[in-house]
Subunit: 184 residues, 2 copies
DNA sequence: AAATTTGTTAAATTTTTATTTAACGTTTTG
DNA sequence: CAAAACGTTAAATAAAAATTTAACAAATTT
């Protein structure tokens, strides 16, 4: 078995993981193509240019350009420089803990912000409605039930905000420590 | 302002929240339409039939049928019965903590399962490759680097598995308690 | 049993998203 | 300064996903 065949065997072996990463990366809101690109870059310790990507994945260069953009968006790759090369170079972030925390905290915080704003608007409007003199009894009950729901949901969003903070600060690792694994 | 107008005012008020829920529910992997349906059902304490849904959202009945299916898939609504009605009835789950835990644990566990399987396959193949007598030095280094990455990533997946368990068991609430909120 | 209601499936349509080819502007090289 | 390299934008195409209309099957009512 010559070197070329050996490299192919290695790539074939790694493809299991590349595929599974591509498959599960919908959790990070990206398409399988983008996931495959990340999976491919994950195994490289060297940086990669757009042209290398397009050759590796058999896709067009503009596709790689947009794929790279979406991976940068969620901090899964970053731009770097390679001496002597004119081309943009990118390296993958390999720390899954970091990726997890960055991505989910961002999403959770976004959820909190958008929904808490909406809740306050709705609360204000409902309170205005409730202050009406001639309010129908059934409407009043409905309105009060809505306020109860909103109050409960506020608890959740405050909690979600705290949760994100706990992940960002690393406190989560006190509760759930990173395990040591024994190699067989 | 008569009762009908009052009800409209209430619905208008609640629409802020319905919209924001629909907007942020991409985090739960559903489309805005499905999110809007959930948002609508969220404010009802009564159950809802497919026909009511289609009238409320102005969409077709088959759409509602598939939307309901996807919400059931992630346990955001469940089927119920209403005495005297032939129609299927659905109620929304309103406990956001429950929804969060169910959804994310499921996704995290799925990620763990798929990726750990792939990792084991890849590890086996790489070990086979490494046991070859005439292995090129560069290939050997690459292969060993891959193994290092996989070992690191296993730590992450074990941690993710532990994390899911901690959420499922409710232990997470020891670290991040549900806050009390003071009404103004 | 015929007619109606109800939910789903299938086929057709529309809309959205992903991808490619072509073109452009900028930078670098000779 | 002409030619080539590079990344991105724009327009065109292809592929995927959502939605609707039509048809169907099962259950229920008359």
């Amino acid at each position: 078995m010559d070197k070329k065949e050996q490299l192919e065997a290695l790539e074939k072996a790694r493809n299991n993981v590349v595929r599974s990463i591509a498959e599960t990366m919908d959790l990070y809101g990206v398409t399988p193509s983008v996931g495959k690109l990340y999976g491919t870059m994950y195994f490289r310790n060297k940086s990669m240019s757009l042209d290398e990507m397009k050759d590796e994945l058999g896709m067009s260069k503009p596709s790689m350009s947009t794929a790279v953009k979406s991976l940068q968006e969620i901090d899964m790759i970053k731009k770097t420089w390679l001496k002597g090369s004119r081309r943009d170079q990118f390296v993958s972030e390999k720390d899954f803990f970091k990726l997890f925390i960055q991505y989910f905290c961002k999403m959770w915080e976004r959820e909190v912000k958008i929904n808490l704003n909406a809740i306050e608007d709705t609360r204000t409007e409902i309170h205005t409605l409730l202050s009406q003199a001639d309010l129908d009894e059934e409407v009043r009950e409905e309105a009060e039930y809505s306020l109860t729901l909103l109050k409960e949901s506020k608890k959740y969003y405050y909690w979600l905000s705290d949760l994100a903070a706990n992940f960002r600060s690393g406190q989560i690792f006190d509760l759930v420590p990173i395990p040591e694994i024994e190699e067989e």
